[in-house]
């Protein structure tokens, strides 16, 4: 290596190291913020717990001392109601945000949302059908809530499958056909939900509406464990997709010429997004805008490089959902606002802001 090229190389190396250090610092700040939100979330809601009281209960429990009746109630609210839903919020937030990031990277459009390929529509249509059927024929209710979740999950995957079949061409999957097919499937699902709602009785209608607004109520540890166990391979796959998504950002032809098996990775991204969003939607209903907004925030705070962006989306998605869940319980106690309303209330104005920014000619990060 000659001396004349050594200096700029070292400068670049230092710049890359400095950037990495900066991102690591931002990660640490985000994690601390998440921890603070976790503590705040454990205290807020219709049953307020101060962290000091909760800490005493935990110490007693750890030392295997008997709990007073008050403390038992505290312990119950903590261990059976709040802790599982907060863990669920984190898992679901991370999954939705990472799938949004993958979807935007794949279609090279910062306004893309995981729901674009019909996942949420399919899930909602199937869940609405199941809810209405169970309401009319209670003898069909086998497995209760799990039946609804399973129907939503299957509905989501069927919707994606239809979209993928339609978008398939001889040369592979065309992104533009994929988006158009997604729009059509979403419209079809909307019509189906409309028809079901028209025919359903008041009780079923209320349940359908509540389901489509998303909720973390009724989360149990078994559901959390289920999602947690599945999240491990899903998150690992998303992390594996960091470099392929960087290449997709340069265009499909460019990615192919740089050594990426474009069609294989396109399928992998789509099914992974479909599976993770179907999982989250099946268990918590439709939670909009997390998949759209979090990647934007992460791009602003971190970088467009998916090496940092993907993990940042995971962390920020979890934090946003923790915040939204806390807000949904703390804003109007004892009422609990469906979490989908909270995320949409924050997300929709932000989305409008992004569109306005794009209209002015400014590029979206």
């Amino acid at each position: 290596m000659n001396a004349s090229v050594k200096s700029p190389a070292l400068t670049l190396q230092f710049a890359l190291h400095a950037r990495r250090k900066k991102h690591m610092r931002s990660f640490t700040i985000a994690l601390v913020l998440g921890l603070v939100l976790l503590l705040l979330g454990l205290q807020s809601g219709s049953f307020e717990q101060s962290s000091q009281v909760l800490f005493d209960v935990l110490i007693n429990k750890f030392n295997q001392q008997a709990l007073s009746q008050d403390q038992y109630l505290q312990w119950y609210v903590f261990s059976e109601l709040r802790a599982p839903r907060m863990f669920m919020a984190m898992f679901v937030g991370a999954l939705l945000a990472m799938s949004g990031c993958a979807m935007q990277g794949l279609v090279r459009n910062p306004l893309a949302d995981p729901g674009l390929i019909g996942i949420s529509g399919g899930a909602a249509a199937a869940a609405a059908t199941a809810l209405a059927l169970i309401n009319h024929y209670p003898q069909l209710e086998i497995g209760g809530q799990y039946l609804i979740a399973l129907s939503a999950f299957i509905g989501a995957l069927i919707a994606v499958w239809i979209v993928l079949i339609v978008a398939r061409t001889r040369a592979g999957m065309a992104i533009s056909s994929l988006i158009l097919a997604g729009v059509a499937v979403n419209a079809l699902a909307g019509t189906h939900i409309g028809a079901i709602s028209y025919m359903a009785n008041d009780d079923a209608l209320r349940q359908i509406t509540y389901w489509t607004m998303g909720s973390l109520g009724g989360v149990t540890w078994s559901k959390v464990m289920f999602v947690g166990a599945l999240s491990v391979p899903i998150v690992a796959l998303y992390m594996h997709l960091r470099q392929p998504l960087n290449l997709f950002a340069l265009g499909e032809n460019e990615a192919q010429c740089m050594g990426l098996e474009v069609n294989k990775y396109k399928r992998l991204v789509l099914w992974l997004v479909a599976f993770s969003v179907a999982l989250a939607t099946a268990l918590c209903g439709i939670i909009g805008f997390v998949g759209l907004v979090v990647p934007h925030i992460a791009r602003t705070l971190f970088s467009a490089d998916h090496k940092y962006l993907m993990p940042a989306c995971g962390v920020l998605g979890a934090i946003l959902m923790l915040g939204a869940d806390t807000a949904s319980r703390a804003l109007f106690p004892p009422l609990e606002i469906p979490i989908g309303i909270v995320t949409s209330a924050v997300g929709a104005p932000f989305f409008l802001y992004l569109l306005a920014k794009q209209k002015k000619g400014g590029a979206i990060a």
Binding site: M1, N2, S4, V5, K6, P8, A9, L10, L12, Q13, A15, L16, G105, R108, N109, P110, R170, A171, Q243, N246, L247, A249, L250, G251, N253, E254, Q256, C257, M258, G259, L260, E261, R299, S303, A304, D305, A363, A365
Partner: protein, 277 residues
Amino acid sequence: MLNLLNITLKHGDLTLLEGLNIQLQPGCFTTVIGENGCGKSTLLRCIAGLHGQFSGSVTFNKRTLGDWQTKSLAKVRAFVNQHNQVQFAFLTEEVLQLGRMNQTETLAQRTALICQVAEQLSIGHLFGRDVRTLSGGERQRVFIAKALVQLLPNANAETHGSNAIDASSHGDANGEKPFDGKLLLLDEPTSALDFRFQKALMDVVKSLCQQGLSVMCVSHDINLVLPYASEVILLANGRCLAQGSAADVITAQNLQQCFGVIPKLIPQPDGVPYITH
């Protein structure tokens, strides 16, 4: 190193390429000339492996194109598109780093290679800038640099080390050159470049050809590329009209047949005529 045998590509009733037979030797600079829509870019895309549905065979380094793994092919073949768009706020150095994604090397080795290419194409000052904010010409240089970075030999595996791109190093003691068996496909590489960088790019590419790199370049700037070209292919309606050295191919008759206008050829001392209207 590259053999095209009877390449024909049809799209519906339209024949895009017909019966092309082309051979590329190591270290040769081949330029493809022809009117708009005659199939120049399509030919490059076929060779790059982006068009799967052609008939005939493309053999690259004695292996059929279809037998190459996408990853191993990317180490020896790079393609520079005419239009390059990046959707998100990637920085110049991040784009260049992507060119090395198939290589296992240390960050120090990687940055050294990137900086060498950046210096050659004068894009070092664009480090830290969002690629979307660059001018068309700057972005074109960044993408050409990325393609060169992609083809540079790995400092660990090969002896040529980090000075492979220096014009002074034309091979090692065994006579093996750092870019032997490597192919660079350029689609209108100078379309957005200014007067200075058009020539600078051609000089860099020519120096790489002397180190074994084979180049196939599609260009409308005939007078710029001809002095550098060791071989010229004249395409018309997807067919090869003439193929050979610039002096043989560039005749008034061939050009008239290709472009449908009668050009003026001004003889030059190097034997390659200057073409004007």
